[in-house]
């Protein structure tokens, strides 16, 4: 494993090893950039696809249909073969001016000075609290991401009969995960009059025997230590109680832009993504951004392509401005 504290002469540091980050890393190496370092805070690289145990991944990038984990593995192998350096268990704790990154790893803390930095920190779902959902704080309240990492990485389940909130693509994916894990959702709720994804989801909900309630939202989560029931209300104000042992909040993706929001970089407060120019470059010209951080819930293939495209901008920038030292 690379010791990030001893990594000198870094041309490009990439924060995040999901599809966008790895695609960019591979493309940078192919375009002759010398020292490319991917910083991954988890103990394994690969990003979110690692815990999406279902197809379809890889159609655009590798011309075949893969599950998330094998897609992630394939990306990592390709990156390693291309000569990309990877530092795992390495957290970026602050984005400094002109590409100076503060990092923490079990080996210690320090800084890396990179000529350019690509931020590819991805996206996460909006949890219950940020949705201001009424009710008690209980065990059994989860998001798709948390559910999938429990099921696919740890072989654990957080509930057996949850209510699923949301009808986005990811909600569809959550139903698949539930099916695989032997979890039987008791209802699927959508606040709006129509599901976010039309045909397939409605069919899937039927297929899994999960009743879909439109125009319906949670008005209370009830239980002592663990979820025991939810109260829901429809648009006419009819209230019903649904017995369940969990609530799964799906979708409402928000960029994982905390590093940006805590830094000197400009953040678009509406989208919560960093402000970028036409080259995906941030307000500090040493920084670029790509992937889901920019447009929540691009499918992996789109993130991959955007990572690759951004890599071309970075490579060109480095070549043309090799004499311009943005660093200190």
């Amino acid at each position: 494993m690379i010791n990030p504290l001893k990594y000198d002469n870094c041309d490009v540091a990439i924060i995040g090893s999901g599809p966008a980050g790895l695609a960019a890393a591979i493309a940078l190496k192919k375009q002759g950039v010398n020292r490319v370092l991917v910083l991954e805070r988890e103990s394994e690289a690969g990003g979110i696809p690692r815990h999406c145990g279902h197809p379809p991944f890889g159609v655009l990038e590798h011309a075949r249909v893969m599950t998330g984990p094998s897609y992630a593995k394939k990306n990592i192998r390709t990156a390693q073969n291309a000569g990309v350096d990877m530092a795992l268990k390495t957290s970026v704790t602050a984005l400094g001016v002109k590409g100076e990154l503060s990092i923490a790893s079990p080996l210690g803390t320090g800084t890396i000075q990179a000529k350019r930095v690509l931020i590819a920190t991805g996206v996460r779902e909006t949890p219950r609290s940020a949705r201001l959902i009424s009710g008690s704080r209980l065990l059994g309240i989860s998001t798709t991401g948390a559910l999938q990492s429990m099921v696919y990485l740890k072989n654990l389940i957080p509930f057996r009969n949850p209510v699923v909130v949301g009808t986005e693509i990811v909600s569809f994916s959550a139903l698949f995960t539930c099916k695989k894990a032997g979890i039987h959702p008791v209802a699927m709720l959508e606040e709006k009059p129509k599901p976010s994804i039309m045909q397939p989801l409605q069919k899937a909900a039927h297929l899994f025997g999960v009743p879909l309630f439109l125009n319906t939202q949670i008005i209370n989560i009830i239980g002592k230590d663990r979820v025991e029931a939810v109260k829901v209300a429809d648009i006419e104000g009819n209230i019903r109680k649904i017995d369940c042992d969990g609530v799964l909040f799906t979708g409402l993706f928000t960029p994982e832009s905390s590093l940006v929001s805590m830094s000197h970089l400009k953040l678009d407060h509406n989208t919560k993504s960093p402000v970028i120019d036409e080259f995906n470059r941030c307000s500090d010209l040493a920084y670029y951004a790509a992937g889901n951080l920019l447009q929540p819930l691009n499918i992996a293939g789109n993130c991959w392509r955007q990572g690759r495209k951004t890599a071309s901008f970075i490579a060109k920038d480095l070549k043309e401005n090799a004499h311009v030292n943005l660093g200190k």
Binding site: G108, L132, K154, L156, I157
Partner: protein, 481 residues
């Protein structure tokens, strides 16, 4: 953090006194909230053998789990009241001991902010009260001076009283440290041990708990939200009635921290301190609490309408909060009574002291109340011999402005990325003399899953690390079940 002197309670090994008793001690403290933990510490240091009895699997399961974490000077406490005395003594004691226990202190200061003429009109009373309470460093700030200090506050602020020594602390590590020190100095603790009945034989109390009988010379009722029920069920009568008062809070993202450095207090009314805007020791900005009377002593639920109103009120005072994401919401229940003051009742004949009605100021007042209990017991003729060289060990720091565990190498891995909680911290919190007794207890000891993603990234790893550790776990089963 080393706990070699720590007596972890193993019920079988502590038999002395009555042969039928599981534990026998000089003093039984019922309730593991901040008050109970502080009393346990004080009396253990004074040389008494103490046992803290808690009905939940961990400390801080009731009123003490959700408060505003402010270390109060007591400038606005009722003049000459016990509350004022306890808050002041508690404040001084915290300042005195916090470094030795590694408890954090964020020197924020507070502004009692007036947004209207009517509120300004009450300032002379507040100054007068402050002086009477011995808080003499209050000073008036003009609008311009306020905005110099806090440029992000809405500019319709009129004036404010600066309370320089009103600070912010960690509401959970403090009581944890108090009880831990009690245990390290010979104290014991029993969890999952609700006290159901008891009898007094003129010398000793025999308390029936769900873990077995406890014998003690004195009982200190620190049962908070259940204080009146405990008095009634065990002592036989009570002089007050708990009127649970819920307070909801909204926590803003750490990015908001740069918008505010002081605690923004409202001009208080008779009933409540009102809604506060304050930085937390963990690096967030919080708005709350509401004051809602309710029947339930345990239902700390939030509701969307109230939370939305809180957010609106916060934005009205600190407009840039409108751009800030919300990290968490929570509610706490204060053990208010039908009267405003602390309900401290000393039953001499029965060796029983009740510390009731300890509300918002309890976090500060606890250490003062503990001294007060000691005084009462002295009056009653107790003659414990103060420990000459008490054990003092530190607790892990969770404050954002001080070095956290991740800054020290060898932590294995970060489990919770939003709050930068290491595996080393989580492992340590499940060991030692006062290990986490529940997932919530673990969260309070480490901050795992308390950050902006609320477990999106880490709850799987946390479920794995805590599997089979607690009665209620994150995972309910395995895939192949």
């Amino acid at each position: 953090m080393n706990s070699k002197n720590c007596n972890k309670t193993t019920p079988d090994t502590h038999k002395k006194g009555s042969s039928s008793s599981l534990i026998s001690a000089d003093i039984a403290i019922i309730g593991g909230g901040v008050v109970g933990c502080a009393v346990a510490r004080k009396m253990a240091l004074e040389g008494a053998s103490v046992v803290l009895i808690e009905k939940a699997p961990d400390i801080l399961d009731g009123a003490s789990k959700g408060n505003s974490a402010i270390l109060h000077t007591g400038f606005d406490a009722p003049v000459d009241s016990l509350e004022q005395k306890c808050v002041q003594n508690g404040y001084d004691e915290y300042i005195k001991i916090h470094e030795s226990l590694n408890l954090p202190l964020l020197k924020t200061s507070a502004l009692v902010a007036a947004w209207s003429k009517e509120e300004e009109d009450r300032f002379p009373d507040i100054f007068k009260k402050g002086v009477n309470n011995g808080v003499k460093d209050l000073c008036l700030l003009s609008r311009k001076e306020i905005l110099n200090l806090e440029p992000s506050l809405a500019n319709h602020i009129r004036s404010a009283i600066l309370v320089p020594k009103e600070y912010v602390i960690d509401p959970w590590s403090a009581p944890f440290a108090y009880l831990k020190q009690a245990l390290e100095n010979g104290g014991q603790a029993l969890f999952n041990a609700e006290v159901t009945k008891g009898r007094f034989d003129g010398t000793n109390w025999y308390l029936n708990t769900k873990q077995g009988e406890v014998q003690a010379g004195y009982v200190i009722n620190c049962a908070g939200l259940y204080g009146d029920i405990l008095d009634k069920n065990v002592l036989g009568s009570t002089q007050f009635q708990i009127k649970p008062r819920k307070g909801q809070f909204v926590v803003f993202d750490k990015a908001a921290r740069k918008l505010l450095s002081s605690i923004i207090l409202p001009v208080p009314t008779e009933r409540t301190k009102g809604i506060v805007l304050f930085p937390t020791i963990f690096g967030n900005i919080v708005v709350g609490p509401t004051a809602e009377e309710q029947e339930s002593r345990s239902n700390a639920s939030v509701d969307k309408k109230t939370l939305t109103l809180l957010v609106e009120q916060a934005i009205e005072k600190l407009p840039a909060l409108a751009k800030m994401p919300i990290t968490a919401t929570y509610a706490g229940i204060r053990p208010a009574t039908e009267k405003k003051h602390y309900r401290v009742i000393h039953n001499h004949d029965k060796n029983w002291i009740t510390l009731g009605g300890i509300r918002s100021t309890g976090l500060t007042g606890a250490l003062g109340l503990a001294c007060h209990v000691h005084d009462l017991l002295l009056q009653q003729g107790s003659d414990f011999k103060k420990l000459e060289t008490p054990v003092t060990t530190t607790v892990p720091n969770l404050a954002e402005h001080l070095p956290r565990d991740w800054a020290r190498e060898g932590y294995e891995e970060i489990i919770c990325h939003c709050e930068m909680v290491t595996k080393r911290e989580i492992t340590a919190a499940m060991k030692g003399c006062l290990p986490a007794g529940s997932i919530d207890g673990l969260k309070r000891r480490t901050r795992a899953t308390m950050g902006r993603c609320q477990g999106f990234y880490c709850s799987a790893r946390l479920a794995e690390l805590t599997k089979e550790k607690f009665t209620n776990t994150i995972g309910v089963g395995e895939l192949d079940d």
